[in-house]
Amino acid sequence: MSGYATGIVAILCINLIFAYAIFVTAAAGQLNLGGAGFQAIGAYTAAWLSSNAGQPVIVTIPLAMVTTALIGFLISFPVLRTRGVYMVLATFAFGQFVSGFLLRSPTFGGAIGMVVSDYVGVGLLVAAAIITTGLVFFLMASRLGLAIRSIHDDEPVSTIMGVNVRAVQVTTFTIGGALAGLSGALYAHHFSFVEAQYFNSLLSIYVLLFVLIGGTQTAWGPLVGSLFFTLLPEVLRVGGSWRYVVFGVAIVAMMVLRPQGIVTRELVSRLSPRNWFGSRPAPAARLADGG
């Protein structure tokens, strides 16, 4: 594989794990616009443990995940007091705080950034992306996943059904934190260098767009969204700086044509092999119960 292709595969894997981090909370109806902050904490934790404490990758990556999971857990309590656009603003403020802190902290290299000593190859990134994808699919098919989707639709009714809505939302923030930390740690170890400027608000916006444009109803959404957003700018590279215009138009068109995201549950069920041979129930099954 050429260096160019390897670079794209690596960033695609990191973006995919990052997208799933945001997806898990978005699937429960919570919008996190501070994704870059979580990813930065994961990346810097791994970088610091690797370069300053001399820890191997087997220690740095799990510890980075535990750190961001803990921060996700703690931050969920104040954030879940807010709703809608205020939640978006609160998480955005968190992301800004993290990058501002890292930029001014001498421990983490300030504006110069940090060199990461241990290198992780693209093979591990691909493996991590596949495992994450599998786990998120499993999560969404589980009892917790059912509660997550139910909350996304209707919080009061989920409560009536016996779902502890707050506990589920705190859990999704914690899982999202862990996944964002994983993507950050992998980024640090693969590119061997971290700088605070990379984890800016634009990154948070992009990853939220991957998820919202891909669709929040099924775990296919972030997969399609991150493929689309990582590959489209590369494909459009031949068009020079016009690619930004085409990219922008494509985003607007997506939002107009499919406001619920590219992949919906309806689309998944229509494409599923079970339904290829006309399993639609016969009209007779409709019985007399009309109305």
């Binding site: 639709d153 209707d154 409560t159 779902v163």
Partner: protein, 255 residues
């Protein structure tokens, strides 16, 4: 008594929606709460399920004080609510909606009970994997009741289940409630369809502006002039509080 409510108050800010309401529901008994819009019936049920806090009074269920318990805790004690307007989760499939009904349970019998629901309602079985949004109004109500049944309730509370259903489906709905009653399920039924509600219930209460203004056996209420004048849509002859059987109300019970 399975459910005992004493002096329950519900307030939304300055609005006093439920004022010192006391009621009780026994094992395998159907009790109906009647009243016009804004009488406080829905607020009463919401407080019983724990969606709004009680501002005063006590709720006892199966001998245990549940006044301060959360809705999931009450559900685990087998007190289930079928909310107003059905409130099924439209982006989940029919089957997933049923599984949500059993969410509070941790026993192994869920899939057997879900199969039991499909046997009872073949329409739901036929739409098992479709999004619940494709169901008709009647089917949605069946799904909402089935979902509550899967929580294995000892007492099921229903908030105006007949709302928006055609007369034929209303007939069928009350038939279902009657058979659930005969199977031994206790029911607290909030209704505006007074006539049908009093046919299935053994006792009833009438609420007005948050207060219980009338209470009695279903028979007595059916022949009560005040209730007849207010909700059964025909003028009553002047008489005492409980009059002898007059002309049976013939119109549809809607006020």
């Amino acid at each position: 008594m399975l459910l005992e409510v004493e002096g329950l108050d519900v307030r939304y800010g300055r609005t006093h929606a439920v004022r010192a309401v006391s009621l009780s529901v026994g094992q395998d008994e159907v009790v109906t709460v009647l009243g016009a819009n804004g009488a406080g019936k829905t607020s009463l049920l919401r407080a019983l399920q724990g969606m709004v806090p009680a501002a005063g009074g006590q709720i006892r269920f199966d001998g245990v004080d549940i006044t301060r318990m959360s809705p999931p805790q009450r559900l685990q004690r087998h007190l289930a609510l079928v909310p107003e307007g059905r409130q099924i989760i439209i982006s989940l499939s029919v089957h997933e909606n049923l599984l949500m009904g059993a969410y509070c349970r941790h026993d192994a019998g869920v899939s057997r009970d879900v199969d039991g629901i499909y046997d009872r309602f073949p329409n739901l079985a036929a739409r098992r994997d479709m999004p619940a949004s494709v169901l008709s109004g009647g089917e949605q109500q069946m799904l909402a009741i089935s979902r509550a049944l899967l929580a294995k309730p000892r007492l099921m509370m229903l908030d105006e289940p007949s709302l928006g259903l055609s007369p034929l489906l209303v007939e069928r709905l009350f038939g279902l409630l009657g058979s659930l009653r005969d199977e031994g399920l206790a029911i607290l039924l909030v209704e505006q369809n007074t006539q049908m509600a009093l046919e299935v219930a053994s006792r009833g209460l009438v609420m007005e502006l948050g207060n219980v203004v009338l209470e009695g056996s279903a028979d007595a209420l059916r022949h009560n002039d005040r209730l007849a004048a207010a909700y059964l849509g025909h003028a009553a002859p002047a008489a005492g509080p409980v009059s002898p059987p007059a002309t049976p109300p013939s119109s549809n019970g809607r006020a």
